[in-house]
Symmetry: C2
Subunit: 424 residues, 2 copies
């Protein structure tokens, strides 16, 4: 394969030279800073910047990579993102000796991923969660309104969404404490106890880089100026809490206890070869939601569940769902244009999640409530146990990889992972 790096990239790695996702890492006893994943290692951008290797022509702000979040870097906008990406690409290219020529630099600037603690990559501004999968919205509608139209009248006209709790967005690996809440059983008065219907939601989110001004909407064609990149999102859900509180203002505490995201932000530039036409939209969308570009992303998604027994026996986690992000009805540019269409401003670090990504067919559903038909058809795990909802000790991991573009190595997202711990 051409275009390899002098840093070894194992076969099947999510992080080849074509990816170069950004994250925040910390080595024991050191300050958090910005790194780029390459193979099994993290490239310390601050170390390169201090050597003067990442400022080619462009004047980056002092210490821009020495932050505990990507926000400062993201706020610089696309020209800076592209200039840094080009610089990193050049430095890691197989032909380049720039890093290796500085004595000790390669050793200092390349950290084993196993030695790097990954932190939340961005300080989240607002967190919007959409409902953009036709299959998911139809499945939920059929369960919530049996016999009625599964989709509400507005669904095909706008990307339905709501604001989630930004302060509850955490990085992959954070334990998921089973939440308490008001729960109604058998139409009696509500009790207060730990959720018995803990669920995951497979989602993909994008992160706003450059902010926009108050009162000025972002035209859809300008989306690339504002979208920095994407992450995997697990929007943990407590279905019993959600069901009781939901009307009339929407999801609240059934969602707000925790939302996990993957630590590496895959840039729009790395995803460029994987943009494909999305599903046909009928009826035609309004002008402000219409783009000449392809905005669906050909991204394979997979969810695994491992019980604590399976982990103890060192068994593989069970794949419980496989789908592709390109099936999403509303794309990320439409989501961005819609959110700002009323003049709401973007802030650097705003997170926009897709909503559950469910593909056609029951093995492609992105949540337990869909996979088990709201608990009616349990999933059977290799250790013989059954699951309708998640149990304490269960680990959900989501993986995403773009792998279908011709002549380009796969671009992976790594994983977002979370293990359920008992209610306090």
């Amino acid at each position: 394969m051409s275009g390899g790096s002098w840093v070894p990239v194992p076969e099947g790695s999510d992080f080849s030279l074509h990816n170069l996702p950004y994250g925040i890492f910390r080595r024991a006893g050191e300050a958090a800073r910005i790194g780029v994943a390459i193979g099994d290692q993290v490239l310390d951008l601050d170390a390169l910047w201090r050597e003067g290797l990442l400022d080619g022509g462009r004047k980056l702000p002092e210490g821009v990579f020495a932050h505990g979040s990507l926000n400062r870097f993201l706020s610089l906008g696309r020209p800076a993102w592209q200039s840094v990406r080009a610089g990193v690409l050049e430095l890691l290219d197989g032909h380049s000796h720039a890093i290796r020529d500085v004595p000790g630099l390669a050793e200092r600037a390349l950290i084993e991923r196993s030695e790097a603690e990954m932190l939340l990559p961005v300080e989240i501004g607002d967190f919007v969660d959409f409902y953009s999968s036709l299959e998911h919205a139809s499945n939920m509608g059929a369960m919530l309104r049996p016999g009625g139209e599964p989709l509400l009248p507005n669904w095909r006209h706008l990307p339905v969404g709501y604001h989630g709790r930004a302060g509850s967005v955490v990085v992959s690996g954070t334990p998921v404490v089973r939440p308490w809440g008001q729960i109604v059983e058998d139409d009696g008065p509500p009790g207060f106890g730990p959720t018995g219907m803990l669920d995951f939601e497979l989602e993909v989110g994008f992160i706003a880089g450059a902010p926009s001004a108050f009162g000025a909407s972002v035209p859809i064609e300008q989306a690339p100026e504002h979208i920095f990149g994407c992450v995997l999102v697990n929007d943990w859900s407590a279905r019993d809490i959600q069901r009781w509180e939901n009307a009339p203002l929407g999801p609240f505490l059934g969602k707000s206890f925790m939302t996990s995201i993957s630590p590496w932000v895959v840039t729009l530039d790395a995803l460029a070869p994987y943009f494909v036409p999305g599903p046909a939209q009928t009826p035609p969308v309004l002008d402000y939601l219409r783009s000449d570009r392809d905005w669906a992303i050909d991204l394979d998604l997979e969810v695994t569940l491992a019980s604590s027994t399976m982990i103890e026996r060192d068994m593989d986690a069970e794949v419980i769902s496989r789908t592709n992000f390109r099936t999403l009805y509303w794309n990320i540019a439409q989501q961005l244009a819609h959110v700002t269409s009323n003049g709401a401003r973007l802030r650097t670090g705003d997170l926009f999640a897709s909503g559950t990504v469910s593909g056609p067919g029951p093995r492609a559903y992105g949540s337990m409530i869909e996979l088990t038909r709201s608990g009616e058809r349990p999933i059977v795990l290799p250790d013989g146990s059954e699951r309708t909802w998640l149990k304490d000790g269960d680990t959900i991991a989501m993986h995403g990889v773009c792998g279908h573009a011709e002549g380009v190595p796969p671009v992976g997202f790594g994983k977002v992972r979370g293990a359920v711990v008992p209610a306090p």
Copy 2:
């Protein structure tokens, strides 16, 4: 009146020595910093701190008052808030010469309010908007579900709420740009245009000071450790946009274009004499929502509307609503306990708004949709014009004052104000 200040406080001022609300101000050409309102002036806390007058015994962080938001100060927690309040009270007391004894300090540290530009007082973390007024929820329910039960089954069991857009919270005085959005008329397909149903919502919000830990709920009796103070909130709403997008995930773009708050944060300590028993709650609430303290606030609220003609003719604004915050069914401690009951953490600067405060009777309703019965009964203004919804050039101002406690001068909130400007 006993306990007066050596700084003149005009009769009827919102800001006597008993109030001492905090805000962020900027004088032309100077950096933003923390001030306290007293009479018609702003007391510059940074100037006092630099003179060593505000650090009595307690070690405050370097430059804690020299910030463009209250967040750093708020994160210190109640002991610091109380210590600073006691210090300011002492320095402003009629008997104190501490400020006046330092040559030139009174001139430097006291700024005319008319010369101070007020900024957003806090960097908002998450913004939660409740629906806690029984009258408002009943009025809305009756309009949305005519013939049915006005209140949904969950309403009396938990403070219904949702997350709003934190990035759209602005300080009083920011122009309200009429938003565009998807609007359906006569059951046809949606069009995209400026809202024709622009509304206000009279609300009161509280601001979280000390943060709480992930996975640990805040017991209701600990609310005073976390609630710093209150502001007035105008949750601008576009009813046509809201109506179309609302199901099934709740309010989104019909609200997210702008939410205005008053610039002065009135502390819980200043409000202490005005805590009164709230409405009886039937059925009894669950234990985690039960408090031994009184948490309703005896706060008179008033909304005025002034058309541009009225302002040109220098006519007074018309009072279109009067109510009292003590009518709120769910109190602020219950709101706080509920939001964290699932383990969601508090962050410094989180804003929790009450939802529209509507009292009994049509002159006490806190929104146009209620006052005009969704446009059926227009309000007639002194200039002869009628309003069902807000027109370009209209100014809405909300004022709040606690004035009924015995032997204590009134504690006012100042105003939150916004003028509607045409859609772009």
